[in-house]
């Protein structure tokens, strides 16, 4: 950390994965650089909104919890949104979807997920970390961004600096326990160009079967387990992959590609999840059952706009 005096949080114990994220890295996909950024972009924005921050200010994405413990070094107001990872301030439980004051010396800890997978911790003014290729988001595989600028996740002893700013605390306009990306198991998908190359039976299964979230799931992609889907196109010439693309490799089990996906790839695709569905999927624990629902581009855009308007 370049300026120790501005450190707000010190990592006492690292959980399985906590990363500095912002809205993502754009305008660089043609260089082979991935998007990154908050996987549940909706909860991430709510965390910033609760403090009156810019909606894409850098915050922490905490996956699973798993004993992550942060020591507070300065008095401040923080906010938490997204998954319920059994967060506690010293021994006091913290409800997700709220802003709360902290004092120097207190400890903030995260434990087992009770609902959802990823929690977002925002600080007033956002985390002050290096901007790499236009974003503060950490992408570990690419060694870019994050609190050290090299893509690393938090580890014991790390300190997180901030741009201190007075918090303008707000309350969520909905019941935080009903966080919009945590509820429901239907994932809206806009069918794409190769959808017609899947067999009739596969198309029926794709949109009627129950899909189970595999343990092979990370910020790059999430595998869905269920009936085997067959596409008449074997593999294709590699081409760009959008967020939420549902690709089907030869084993017939779909993989949904998320924020840290590779930039190009060559498996046929059913289409791509809507931005809202991608965020919802990012909150699904392995074993959860989900369904794919075909939707139109027009309807996807209407729901997207509606979601963005809620932050006003």
């Amino acid at each position: 950390m370049s300026d120790e005096s501005r450190a707000l949080l010190r990592v006492e114990k690292a959980g399985p994965l906590a990363l500095v994220v912002d809205g993502g890295r754009f305008g660089v996909r043609h260089l082979g650089v991935t998007q990154g950024g908050a996987a549940d972009w909706v909860s991430f924005r709510w965390a910033n909104w609760l403090l009156g921050n810019a909606l894409e200010a850098a915050a922490l994405e905490i996956v699973l919890g798993g004993g992550l413990m942060l020591e507070v070094e300065q008095d401040a107001t923080l906010a938490l949104a997204g998954a319920d990872l059994d967060a506690r301030l010293d021994d006091r439980p913290l409800a997700p979807g709220t802003a709360f004051p902290v004092s120097a010396g207190q400890r903030l800890s995260f434990h087992q997920p009770r609902d959802g997978l990823r929690a977002y911790l925002a600080v007033p003014g956002g985390l002050a970390t290096p901007v790499v290729l236009g974003s503060r988001s950490a992408t570990p595989r690419e060694q870019l961004g994050g609190h050290r600028g090299d893509g690393s996740a938090l580890s014991g002893g790390d300190r997180l600096a901030w741009n201190p700013q007075q918090a303008r605390v707000r309350r969520l306009p909905f019941d935080p326990a009903q966080g919009i990306t945590l509820r429901g198991n239907r994932l809206a998908l806009v069918p794409g160009a190769q959808v017609g190359h899947f067999t009739g039976a596969s198309l029926y299964h794709a949109f009627n079967a129950t899909w189970r979230i595999d343990t092979r799931a990370d910020r790059m992609g999430i595998r869905l387990l269920g009936p085997e889907l067959h596409c008449r196109l074997g593999s294709m010439i590699s081409e760009g992959i959008p967020l939420g693309a549902v690709q089907v490799p030869p084993d017939g089990q779909p993989i949904v590609l998320l924020n840290d996906r590779q930039t190009i790839g060559g498996y046929p695709r059913l289409g791509a999840l809507t931005p809202l569905a991608s965020a919802r999927l990012a909150q699904c624990l392995p074993g959860k059952e989900v369904g794919l629902v075909a939707t139109s581009r027009e309807w996807a855009l209407v729901s997207y706009r509606r979601c963005l308007e809620a932050f006003r």
Binding site: V28, H30, G32, V33, E142, Q143, A193, I237, G240, A300
Partner: protein
């Protein structure tokens, strides 16, 4: 050229220019890349060219689907191939050795060649950079001679060293940073590809040409190369 514009996601369109991989595609893809960037300006979020396509992610809050389609169609209707000489030409020094190129023998055996012949032939022609992807600054190049074309490893390696030069079928590439990978590794370069990518100016860009040059271990190390051996594939 039978172009198609396909819906790929809510706010993403695929501009499909070709159906096969061909060096002659590059002049058109480069021209389309430039013209689309100009036509979309700051409503463009990302443009990802690949071998036969350009994936266009536009700002759907500022541009309607129909407006995006109209802009693409206007670009395609007056597209002229770019000057093939616009790309840069790079000469990249490679230390070919079994310790850092554990598949040299596999590639040789597959093509019925000696290791020396593999090196000579890999250095014997210019390669076009067709696309960037997989990792920051990773350029997919081709085409290698038929005799060098060797299928990917059955089980990808978990760790391929930065600078590793690989062959997969008729493609060749350099790994900019330590990453998993299933290509046949034949050597290593000291050129800091990832440092370029990290600054946002990747050394290799689509349309560029690359010629490999074999160097000794001493020269490789003088250039700052890391000679740590790469384990043979399991």
């Amino acid at each position: 050229m039978q172009t198609r514009i396909e819906l790929t996601a809510m706010d993403v369109l695929m501009v499909r220019l070709f159906d096969t991989i061909d060096e002659a595609n590059m002049a058109w893809l480069l021209a389309a890349d430039r013209a689309l960037r100009d036509a979309f300006g700051d409503t463009l979020i990302d443009l990802v060219p690949s071998y036969t396509t350009l994936m266009l992610h536009y700002d759907c809050l500022r541009l309607t689907h129909d407006e995006a389609l109209a802009r693409i169609e206007a670009v395609l209707s007056r597209l002229e191939p770019a000057d093939a000489g616009l790309g840069r030409r790079h000469e990249i020094a490679v230390w070919y050795d079994p310790s850092v190129g554990p598949e040299l023998a596999r590639v040789a055996e597959h093509g019925g060649l000696s290791i020396e012949e593999v090196v000579q032939r890999h250095c014997g022609r210019d390669y076009h950079v067709f696309a960037l992807g997989f990792a920051p600054g990773y350029g997919f190049m081709g085409m290698v001679e038929e005799a060098l074309a060797t299928p990917r490893l059955k089980t990808p390696r978990r760790r391929v060293a930065a600078g590793s030069v690989g062959i997969a079928d008729r493609q060749t590439a350099i790994y900019p940073l330590l990453s998993p990978g299933g290509w046949n590794i034949v050597g290593r370069t000291a050129v800091p590809l990832f440092e370029h990518a990290r600054r946002g100016d990747p050394l290799l860009l689509p349309g560029d040409r690359v010629r490999f040059r074999a160097v000794s271990r001493a020269e490789f190390e003088r250039q700052g190369g890391d000679a740590t051996p790469l384990e043979a594939a399991p």
